[in-house]
Symmetry: C2
Subunit: 526 residues, 2 copies
């Protein structure tokens, strides 16, 4: 059996049956093996950042990793930004990166590069598979690492793939049960929460799903503590019937206000809060003066580990044995009419978000207002840009739709961010995925207009700052997302009113396959 066959069989035996691929010459035996080894779904991407972002979105929803197939160092480089997001989200991915044949390496041919160095920057696990006989066990080890929430990168020289002698690895043993919180840490958290002093539970990891949020809410109900999630949770379950929760703000002043007066901050699958960027004259550390930080469960491990949820449940049983969680009531905003604005667009989303939707949120500044108006929508999942590297939305929505063919996927997408990985639309069309992409077209990097002020850089502008502002302006020429979508086989329409947006969302929902709606909204920061 050639190495490529052993690799594919090992991935399948270990539960990886989807591969987001952008192959090249060094991957031809892997591609051919897709034919000879049934069971692996290969999804073609036209750019590697689509493949890696799709693997992230897939794993967040499928609760098991997908593979990617990438072409040498440059292919991995193209996938790096979305692997960064996966790493920061604790989402496992199995990257198979083709390399030159081991016999070819010494010639330093044009496409040769230091793949391990590039991989190391985003991977928790890196291995070069140098022996065909070991490719099976290497693949099983990569899947195990990915199941534990790591980006796992397997570098696969072409000859290791084409040589005979491959041995498929069997299904590995299931991972050990999630580690429990340390008894001392539980005791310390319980004391803090019982102290009567202002407490905040900051939850992340697996605890931003229904069970974890219910436990956190019981604690809050019994003790008066407040619950917040990390700013960008990996997968937030929310909507009617689920205990509601606010996210820690991205804007420093907002986060500072949310945490003001807190004397005890209990971290459950979350890291101690810091600002996303540094700003002159502002602290990066968001923990208020005089506040003690209690780490109940570290932010580590996979979305599925359950350890943060288990710790919250243990704590809830201690502190709130007779207390029930307070799920969000069903509530929808009225459908607005009139001009399209960030606010009215949000209300339309809140009014129409379907039951069981998967929302992929890369709306950036145009998404302000979405959390409030969707809090009582039917139960849904909300995936966010955990690592901050833009170009995540369209690919992640693609992967989520592959993972959940029976659920509607709504991709709420800023225009500037959309352009990094726009070819994800083509993969959506090719696979007939039920993704509705709502592009907020505001013709600007509006968040950078805000950051130009927040960082104090605006003070260094000369005159009207036109030359600097020009670099934050996407309106020269204006992008036409309906044309872009049409170029990739996705039907689209442009809307300029709230009514138009509602009608377009309904039309998209009534038809199978992907749709794009270009919503013309004024930028939040003019």
């Amino acid at each position: 059996m050639i190495g490529a066959h052993a690799l594919l069989r090992s991935l399948l035996a270990n539960g990886v049956d989807t591969c987001f691929a952008n192959p090249g010459t060094s991957e031809m035996h892997f591609v051919a093996a897709l034919d000879g080894v049934p069971g692996m779904r290969a999804v073609l991407a036209l750019f590697e950042g689509v493949a890696t972002g799709a693997a992230d979105g897939y794993a967040r929803m499928a609760e098991r990793p997908a593979a990617t197939l990438l072409h040498l160092g440059p292919g991995l480089g193209n996938g790096l930004a979305n692997l960064h997001n996966a790493r920061r989200a604790g989402v496992g991915v199995v990257n198979v990166v083709g390399d030159h044949a081991t016999t070819h390496a010494k010639y330093d041919a044009p496409l040769q590069s230091d793949i391990a160095a590039i991989a190391g920057a985003v991977s928790g696990w890196v291995r070069e598979s140098t022996l065909t006989a070991e490719i099976g066990t290497d693949a099983a080890a990569a899947v195990a690492a990915a199941r534990a929430g790591q980006v796992a990168t397997l570098v696969l020289p072409a000859d290791v793939s084409w040589n005979d002698g491959g041995e498929p690895a069997p299904a590995a043993d299931p991972a050990d049960a999630a580690p429990r919180a340390e008894p001392d840490a539980v005791r310390e958290a319980a004391q803090a929460l019982s102290s009567g002093e202002p407490c905040v539970l900051l939850v992340g990891g697996d605890a931003t799903r229904a069970a974890g949020l219910a436990a956190a809410d019981r604690i809050a109900a019994a003790t008066g503590a407040r619950v917040l999630t990390e700013t960008f949770p990996t997968r937030l379950e929310r909507g009617a019937g689920i205990a509601p929760v606010d996210r820690l703000g991205y804007v420093v002043d907002v986060a500072v206000q949310q945490l003001a007066g807190t004397r005890h901050l209990v971290l459950v699958g979350a890291r101690s809060p810091v600002s996303f960027f540094a700003y002159p004259g502002k602290d990066s550390d968001l923990v208020p003066a005089g506040c003690r930080v209690h780490a109940l469960v570290p932010k580590e491990g996979a979305l599925t580990s359950g350890s943060a949820t288990a710790a919250l449940e243990e704590l809830a049983d201690l502190l709130a044995p007779g207390t029930a969680p307070r799920p969000a009531p069903a509530a929808r905003p009225e459908l607005p009419t009139g001009p399209l604005t960030v606010e009215s667009a949000a209300a339309v989303v809140g009014a129409l978000l379907p039951e069981g939707a998967v929302v992929v949120d890369e709306s950036v500044t145009s998404g302000l207002g979405l959390p409030a108006v969707t809090a009582g929508a039917p139960r849904h999942d909300w995936l966010t840009l955990t690592g901050g590297s833009i170009g995540y939305g369209l690919p992640a929505a693609t992967g989520a739709a592959v993972a959940c063919p029976d659920r509607p996927v709504w991709c709420l997408q800023a225009d500037g961010s959309a352009m990094y990985t726009i070819s994800a639309l083509w993969t959506q069309a090719r696979e007939g995925l039920d993704v509705t992409t709502l592009v907020y077209h505001n013709s600007a990097y509006a968040i950078l207009r805000m950051e130009l002020l927040q960082t104090g850089a605006a003070a260094h502008l000369a005159g009207d700052g036109a030359r600097a502002r020009d670099l934050l302006d996407l309106g020269r020429p204006d992008l036409d997302f309906v044309a872009l979508a049409a170029g990739m086989g996705v039907p689209g329409e442009r809307v300029t009113t709230a009514d138009g947006l509602a009608a377009a969302l309904r039309r998209a929902a009534a038809e199978p396959g992907p749709h794009l709606i270009e919503a013309m909204v004024p930028p939040l920061v003019p």
Copy 2:
């Protein structure tokens, strides 16, 4: 003076006056400084691979480096593939990669990553600028490295940029004269070329331009040696009036045939030839058995170093003192009519290529036949995909057009490769660049269809190989490049005949600004 101002002034003082930018929050003071420090042209890209590829194309034509402005590790990652190409081409680029403030690093905020590790994989020079007082000298050192043909990456923490105390660095001394070839190496090469045995001069680096090719041709005329260039020269000057030269083939069997019987291979700014990829049962080393390799000038240094050309001229004066070069005569194919094929499309290009054109060639399999029919076209430059990382054409054409506003730029672009960096079209529209993009639309990764056979992987297909071949097929759905171009403000048209292509090229030439022509061609490999 804040650091960002000192950086910009130092870049300008050292001859870098163009910056291809995709900024983020950490780069806001650099962006603001563009306002306060006149003289730097900032060109916005919607994706970092466009910025880095444009910097490569710019430097190949301007003969001096441009800067890029990139946002942290993920932004650099997005730019990596085209930096790989620049590195392999010996083309200098000054990357300014914004980083978190030095005070922020310890918090490991979401966007933090190991920028130096990522940069190291593609850069000959990497430095983190940690002191505002030294940012000026750091910038000058980066420019010096880039002028020597290196990818130079300057990591710029936000606070180093915003703090006061920056000191602009003056213009650095001009680089030392290009090193001359060693006398022993010249003597050895002269002996080989005078031996009467079959000799090949393999030229690269700066020697693929008019002067180097003239000297190589004089040697060939006097000694009977043959001249070949590297497979993918950085900048090949060619056309009527310039000594013609063949390129070493990409396909192994072609290259083997070109070199068969050679007893002496003289390398001038070129590396000893190896195959691009390894293939089972084939040697990677393309030097024939019994052939001696003589390295006259190593492949190092910038496009502008002149050392390979100087060595060829020295050798020509020794071996061919009274011999004149044999420039290519002016010759054009007749304008074909009828269906569009790879052959007829090439003939149309040969018939119409304008005087002084800059051709950026990422035509891949659809470009077969172009060299022959353009050899007698008016004098032009031909830029190739030196590092093999696709997604190079559109960005490089963008940069070349910024460097050469008075020359027509023709981008001969395969469809699959175009999709990696398609947003370069938007930058072309924004800047009003005179780029004519000819997309060869064959709906396939045709080169991979060939490689599936070449690598022997096709032998492992089951049945008709449909599942594997599906991954090399771009026709489901079919891309519409005219719609994609329209979405980014570039006028386009689709052509299906040779006559139609000629008419479209003439229309594009008659109007200022960018144009896209989508030429429907059958794939070379069905």
